[in-house]
Amino acid sequence: MTVESVLYILGVVVVASPTILLSSLGLPLLMGLHLSEATQSKLTKGAVVAGFLASVCILGVMLVSGLRHVPIEFGNWVSLSQEHFHFHLKFVFDRLSVPFVILTFVLCGTVGAFASVYLHRDRGYRRFFLLYALFLLGMVVSSLAGTIETLFFGWELVGLSSALLVAYFHERPAPVRNGLRVWATYRIADAAFLIAALAMHHLTGAGDFDGLMGSGPWPYGEAAIGSTSALVVGLLLLLAAAGKSGMVPFSGWIPRAMEGPTPSSAVFYGALSVHLGVFLLLRVSPLLDVSIPLRIAVVMLGITSAVFGAIASRAQCDVKNALAFASLTQVGIITVEIGLGLRYVALIHMIGHACLRTLQLLRAPSVLKDYRMLENAVGMHLSGDTVDKSVSISPSRIWLYRFAMERGFLDALLNRWIAHPFTSLFRFCDSMEKRWTDLLSGGDSHGADRLAPYGDSLEDVE
């Protein structure tokens, strides 16, 4: 058996394990069959361990054989050769994707084990693990994607599962509203990503990263497009990354995402999901070498996000939100590192931060409980909650505190300048349409507006 065939088999296992997990959890749900918690937990454990071991083996083989770029071809998913349209399924194991996919399996495995206890007998146990499988598949596909379309595929799966997990406690309106907010932000990021992918296709004739970033292994590829094109595509990808990683001005979704259960908050928003945007920037980092303005834009966005995250995290009054903004600070710094061309530093920083943040978020609920137990045992507050009234606070500090407390007013600004004008315009159109149909009907044309659900009668319109 050759090294190539071993790598191919291992690569298939890495991609197939989350796919099989998703199928084995999803199909019984659709058929109306109920798997027990233990079965779901075992399936999850098996899939994550198989994927993890296979990816570690790939790393071992790569280190032993000296290979730095291992493409695994699955052929064309769809092909119209006459039109030169191919949807190529290709996964790449290199110095960027292998650490990230191993990180994905480690953190998802940890959180899966934690969640099987944390959510024991919870009504949404099955739903959680189904969405977890969807997320895992999305992360694995995104990490290993060898073409921009494949990356988009995984990117969308991560987005959907994240939004639905934010709304996990769906019997309350607040998580649902937050889930919708996350989804709306992601859709804007997805649209930017798709437009960038189309632009790349047109500029290079293919969605393959090799064609786009040159043939050298990451991070030594050279972008095959001009500086102006790189700037346009790069800015679109920067917008997509900013949405996905919750950078300024989209940072509002990160604290909102903490509405989900602790395990999902830990792995999705504190560790993995929030890094997917910067992972994208790392993947297309050769573009930055071509365009200095793009590089400046990346650095500026990173600095802004880092400073904003640092300010906002200091005023948050609950631990999850404080950790969320602390994550943002680190993501901002990682972005600056990418902008400065320190790619390995950024990759190591990302892995270290993801592990640390997962530990913090998983530990946060129990550490508070332990702290209270200790206080109860001692019989007094350990921190000594005293306020020194003699210290005068300047108006600028009060303003800064308010700015941090209100998370930079960014959500309010986005609502006021983007969401509100948009919805107002269409509500106006809706009212105009009503007038028009009223005129044609010669009376009230929107009879259904008066009908209330759950009435005694199931008849809709009489």
Partner: protein, 476 residues
């Protein structure tokens, strides 16, 4: 011309006609429902038989061997080709699924006889290639919803105004089309009138209000069955596409695009579930028109793929909403209803079909949407970007509606709201089609590509390269 091994077309059209006659004399509504389900099921089998037979023939077009039409010298008029071969089973599936999921709470108000009659008319339309007969069938097709509106004592003025305009424009336009009309010698005025008529039937902005009015006033099933087969798009393909020059079609595409974006925006602000569905559907059907009007092989292939995927997914989406409504009455999207725990099956179907319609990865619409956007960008880059924006807005609207209907609160029900076996069967069929088409899209895409290149050949073949023709011929 190739002939089928069995008279699939005649049987598929005759079956619902006989069913309609039988049902119209039945007094028991329960029995009428059962007969309708059986009729639609058998019709679906015949339509599927037609598709399978056509695929086995490896032909560009085929007609019935022992058809009834020969008696009236119509056998050359009712022909199945690459375009219509899968549309017939899709149309039959729409009717079968709708009738099957009609619950007892609705059978007293849903007209099975008119529905079966409409099915026969639709299948005849989709199998027809003769312009005047298509126009006649399209005119007949608008009558059943009008009868229902009258029976329900609803105002028909909005519907009648738009449908009269649609009929008038089609008839005048077709009268002006000369026998020598072609892409190289286009009858511009006739083309404009025909296009305007077909676009009104498709619900083009600003003449789309009849669609929301119909959803407001007719039963959900009737409205769903009137719009989801996308007869307007079929009229454009058969009546306008062969005679309109590319520049004209691509200009019209901009109108369709405006409708797609506008309807997506309107879907986001709707507070009533049926009108929300109407705008989501309108946005998607307009996106199909955008692709059809690109008149390039890739854009057209994308549009034809999306036609099938939107047909299936929007049907499932509409049926999920209809099933929820059958249990609760009309739903407002202003507040939350929290129905997930009572109807998880319907909730999952709602989300899956909604996501499939926006071309979510892994579902049947994904590749079609990619092709559509790719084709649109080839012609006008800005159009491609606007298509992306429309799908993004639709995605937000779909998930918003899902959250409002199924989550946000805890609903206390006094009666069981669980899925009936008939609904469960329909859901599973939809899931198989949506996921199956998403996981293994190649055959569907190739079939639609053949249909696209055949259509372009009809236009004078200037868009099809000799290489493509050669490939097409060899694959046949």
């Amino acid at each position: 011309m190739s002939e089928f091994h069995l008279p699939w077309l005649s049987l598929a059209m005759a079956m619902p006609l006989f069913g309609a006659i039988a049902v119209s004399v039945m007094r028991s509504r329960d029995r009428a429902w059962k007969v309708s389900v059986a009729t639609c099921g058998v019709t679906l089998l015949f339509a599927c038989g037609e598709w399978a037979d056509f695929a086995l023939l490896h032909s560009f077009q085929a007609h019935d061997r022992w058809d009834l039409f020969r008696l009236f010298n119509l056998n050359e008029k009712f022909v199945v080709d690459e375009l219509s071969a899968p549309l017939l089973p899709l149309g039959a599936l729409l009717y079968f699924a709708t009738v099957l999921t009609t619950l007892r709470t609705k059978i007293n108000r849903f007209s099975f006889a008119l529905t079966l009659f409409s099915e026969a008319v639709l299948l005849a339309t989709l199998a027809c290639r003769e312009p005047w007969i298509i126009i006649l069938l399209l005119i007949v097709g608008v009558i059943p919803p009008w009868i229902e509106l009258r029976k329900r004592r609803q105002s028909t003025r909005v519907y009648v105004f738009h449908m009269s305009l649609f009929v008038g424009l089609l008839v005048v336009g077709q009268c002006l089309v000369g026998p020598e009309a072609s892409v190289t010698d286009p009858p511009v005025l006739a083309g404009c009138l025909l296009t305007a008529g077909a676009l009104i039937r498709s619900g083009i902005f600003p003449l789309h209000c009849w669609m929301s009015d119909l959803f407001d006033k007719a039963t959900f099933g009737t409205a769903l069955l009137f719009v989801t087969p996308m007869a307007g798009a079929y009229a454009i393909i058969r009546l306008v596409f062969p005679i309109a020059p590319s520049w004209a079609l691509q200009s019209i595409a901009i109108l369709s695009l405006v409708t797609a974006v506008y309807a997506a925006g309107m879907a986001l602000v709707q507070k009533e579930s049926r009108r929300f569905f109407c705008y989501v559907f309108l946005s998607h059907s307009s996106l199909i028109l955008v692709g059809l009007e690109m008149a390039t092989p890739i854009g057209l292939t994308g549009a034809l793929c999306v036609w099938l995927s939107v047909g299936i997914s929007q049907l499932g989406f509409g049926l999920a909403l209809r099933s929820v409504e059958a249990r609760t009455g009309r739903l407002s999207l202003d507040g939350f209803h929290g129905l997930y725990e009572h109807t998880p099956f319907l909730a999952n179907m709602f989300l899956l079909t909604g996501l499939a319609s926006i071309g979510f990865p892994g579902t049947i619409g994904f590749i079609g949407t990619e092709l559509l956007v790719e084709g649109a960008v080839d012609v006008y880059p800005m159009i491609g970007f606007a298509v992306v924006m429309a799908t993004a807005l639709n995605g937000i609207a779909v998930v918003k509606a899902y959250f409002h209907v199924f989550t946000g609160t805890r609903h206390v029900a006094t009666a069981s709201l669980v899925c009936r076996p008939s609904e469960r069967v329909t859901i599973l069929i939809m899931v198989v089609l949506i996921i199956g088409g998403g996981v293994y899209p190649q055959p569907g895409v190739i079939s639609r590509y053949h249909a696209a290149t055949s259509l372009i050949k009809l236009r004078g073949a200037e868009s099809v390269t000799p290489h493509q023709e050669q490939n097409l011929g060899s694959e046949k």
